[in-house]
Amino acid sequence: MRFLRSSDAIILAILAVAMIFIGLVNPAFWQMSNLFSLLKENVVIGIMALGVLLVMISGGIDVSFTAFAVAGMYLVVRSMVALDYNGLVLPFASTIIIGGLLGLMNAGIIHKFKMIPLIVTLGTASVVRGLVLGLVGTSNVNINKMPEALVNFGKTDLFVLERANGSTYGLTAMIVIYLGLAVALHLVLKHTMIGRSVYAYGADPEAAKRVGFSTGRTMIFVYVTAGALAGFAGLLHSSMIWLANPRDFVGLELDVIAAVVLGGASIFGGRGTVLGTVLGVFILVMIQNSLILMGIDTTWQRVVVGAMLVAAVTVTALRDRRALV
């Protein structure tokens, strides 16, 4: 019964209402192929959102993760093309390491110079994007050049259904990876010391320090994990769309942050759950993709996402209303 009173339950209720509403406006929403493509859209944004959730629980905000995702993805794919390497484990390990190291840079600067995470990550994002585009290259790696192993991996389906006209559609297997990462992060946050230290640090850094948490280690855990998740999501994205574009993900930061906030995480830190974030990502992706189904012009998409973000932060701000002085 405790669940019914949690924010996660409210988010679930909002999701259900939104789904019923969209389904009433256009029943095509409930077609299996539409639902499968929605789930597929969730994967990359969702994995990035897990990283952003971690940062927000710690009381920070991260706008550099999309740049890290691009760095991991583009560096790895370009090296694979250059070396004519065709594999999976090593490329994914490399992109995770690249993302993690860049995250370590964020953690170092934020912790050492005690600087506002937003401004630090604005700076590191510009540094990383500038270096990738300026030194590595600006051209896309297209499907004809993309390493085959990556493309085939991205194509993997859990199962395939057939439409009446004989064409097939499947549910991507990547959803398993996403949900697996979500469960893992949930367990780490709930049941390990380092996970609890993130909540403690986010609620009150000074108190966390006094009860004996090493705040430096917490910061490193938070930003390295966020960076590694972003790097992984970047390469996964490119293997799912069969394209490596060094200008990808521009502006996606906001969508991801909006999804995490929709999921009930508070920017003041100390609050937020994995389940809420997964639901928030689903709501965001669903509404973005259903505007066309509902007959709304796509130029309205940004207004809708922005308004959703403002509405969600208003609700969380009213919930977390604290004395401001």
Partner: protein, 342 residues
């Protein structure tokens, strides 16, 4: 968010005022020196190109819009906030005016529009800025939303409204009177530069010589003391975001007047640069500290630097890298100085 300041404030409270003044002056001297150094270095590398009057004149035309955005960012930071929607506001202001001109001109084309419609356009743009700032201020001071998220969200709404108004492509063909704001000259001095200098003078007077400016800084320095001193916090924050919105709209007027066009994604890189210039100019993002002269000096030194880079044919992407690296470098330097001063 306040973690950076609590420590230094506690240890340096006696003589806080003198110390503040000292640091601001120090920063400004350092910035002026770095301006001169950049100037000398660039002149040595590319003497004929860099020192040409054409180069300085073109800088005088495109620098003011970024300068006004940086000052807007500084105002938002004074209370410990930030405004991530300034570029959206600037574009929305330009596009609103452009749409208005389009509607007024009818079939005759906007070339025939005289002074009256242009004045109307300027007022409309400024009102858009004021309303946008009012919305931000309302979300932040009344609904108590964190400035980062509130302005991130409203920024998207503003950019979205630009897209809805234009349908995607740029609006072109502003009346000649409007273009004169961005490309004209007043007794040999570019009009944007005149506007920028006037804005600088007005705002430094506002911040340094009026009780409004003093109270604004007090909110950022010590929110508790500000409340006990009878400062109406919510009201002040509302006003400060309205001012920020108006300044952003002014930058939008300059931008669209200079380029003779308005589009939803113009000046996207200005956001980072405005944050950088504000921080480099001695503004403390945690609130309380900031002065117009510092921001102007930071603007000049960075404009000289990037114009020099462009002349040496450094790619734009690497210039982005330099901007970001500069921001981090300044953060590190400020932190080191704070520690030494504390």
């Amino acid at each position: 968010m306040m973690m950076s300041e609590t420590k230094t404030n506690a240890t340096s409270r006696p003589g806080l005022r003198g110390w503040l003044k000292g640091e601001a002056a120090q920063t400004n001297v350092m910035l002026a020196v770095s301006c001169v150094l950049v100037l000398i270095a660039m002149t040595a590398l590319r003497p004929s190109m860099f020192l040409s009057s054409y180069n300085f004149e073109s800088m005088a035309f495109f620098m003011p819009e970024l300068g006004i955005l940086s000052i807007a960012m500084m105002i938002a930071m004074l209370t410990g906030g930030i405004d991530l929607s300034i570029v959206g506001v600037a574009n929305l202001a330009g596009i609103t005016a452009g749409t208005l001109f389009g509607a007024m001109a009818g079939d005759g084309g906007s070339g025939a529009l005289g002074l009256g419609p242009v004045t109307l356009g300027v007022s409309a743009a400024l009102i858009v800025g004021l309303l946008a700032g009012l919305l931000n201020g309302f979300l932040i001071s009344v609904l108590k939303i964190t400035p980062i998220l509130a302005t991130l969200g409203t920024g998207q709404v503003f950019i979205g409204m630009c897209l809805v108004l234009t349908g995607g492509p740029a609006i072109v063909g502003f009346p000649p009177g409007w273009n004169a704001i961005g490309n004209g000259k007043l007794v040999g001095i570019p009009v944007p530069l005149v506007i920028f200098v006037l804005v600088c003078i007005a705002l430094s007077l506002l911040l340094a010589r009026t009780s409004f400016g003093l109270r604004l800084k007090l909110i950022g320095t010590n929110p508790k003391a500000a409340v006990y001193a009878g400062v109406k916090r919510g009201q002040m924050i509302l006003y400060s975001y309205m001012l920020t919105g108006m300044l952003a709209a002014m930058a939008g007027i300059l931008l669209s007047a200079r380029t003779n066009a308005a589009k939803s994604d113009y000046g996207a890189s200005y956001l980072l640069q405005a944050v950088l210039i504000a921080v480099l100019g001695g503004t403390n993002p945690a609130g309380g500290r900031g002065n117009v002269l510092g921001v102007a000096l930071a603007l000049i030194s960075l404009t000289l630097l990037s114009s020099g880079f462009q002349m040496m044919r450094v790619s734009n992407h690497l210039i982005d890298f330099v901007w970001g690296a500069f921001l981090i470098g300044v953060i590190a330097l400020n932190s080191w100085r704070r520690r030494k001063g504390a």
